[in-house]
Symmetry: C2
Subunit: 205 residues, 2 copies
Amino acid sequence: MKLIDLTHTFDKTMPVFPGDPDSKLEHTALLEKDGYNDSLLTTLMHVGTHMDAPLHMIKDGKTMDQMPVESFFGKGVLIDARGQSKIEATLLKDVQISEGSIVLLYTGYGEKYRTKDYFENNPQVTEEFAQEMVKRKVKIVGMDILGPDEPPFPTHKILLGKEILIIENLVNLNKLLHIPSFEIIVLPMNLQADAAPVRVVARIV
Amino acid sequence: MKLIDLTHTFDKTMPVFPGDPDSKLEHTALLEKDGYNDSLLTTLMHVGTHMDAPLHMIKDGKTMDQMPVESFFGKGVLIDARGQSKIEATLLKDVQISEGSIVLLYTGYGEKYRTKDYFENNPQVTEEFAQEMVKRKVKIVGMDILGPDEPPFPTHKILLGKEILIIENLVNLNKLLHIPSFEIIVLPMNLQADAAPVRVVARIV
């Protein structure tokens, strides 16, 4: 078994959407003084490697804790979308995607994470691509960008409207490029919220 | 494949150690007004189902993000410790535990979660039990109680001193009672801190 971690480290200096408050990670107890270390985390949900639940964009949609745990395990499919400013359904033409798969979009744009550029001119995932994901009944679509689209978020809404979850800000997708078969395991914090921090691991089988 | 979720839901009403500030989960953006939902989470690390990293009790110990992802997958071993106020090494006498296992202590005390009793008179895991875990080279020890011991935390220190991680506040361990073979997958938030919220799943193989 070989494992590849596809998750950014969450530290004190996480990039957040321009205008949003910074996340905080502060020491609240210290070993020398209190006999143990403890920390206080304060963060919005859409920071770091995280997963959107239907409620993020869908009225009365499910929160993350309402998604069954079976949603989080699936056959991985990597789509090489490097150099594309629009991620079109045509990229899927010759790709085998079985029902229940977890599809990962490797744009290469993730290399800009922790730079200002990351929040500008990022690739957009088209509505047609999202509709194809619905048609092929995938469980999750993940990507190495901050999100699939801009307001009014049509791609988000197509996916989340069908309870296809969305992982944003993935890393290390390049390490999957030449691996023929892998499973993706995506375990989110069991949070009663519109999204949650998530740990994403590829398991080479 | 059958999956069993061993993780408490994290909501607005999480029990915290007496004296600690409550966790908060607040809406910060609303679909009707802002075009999407977002939430702000504020929480100490040792709330809900979470995992302690070495730094929790060990000077210069590793933070959660420094633990290799291989630490989080292992053969599961359930120890039935119901009715025991002290969890002794003698419980392990006839138990097969291979190197790299993830050991789960089912005390039954987890039924008191979200009651005041949960923080009082909870079972204690002895130092001898912890030393046996070290000897058998397990990866993780998990339990359905708030923690293995009280100040000055000798059991915590034996385990974390050997980089054996500790999961606290597990749920649903009763569902594993008659299952002969299962894998445990424990994916924590990739946090640069002394502990992290975690999702714990048993996979029946």
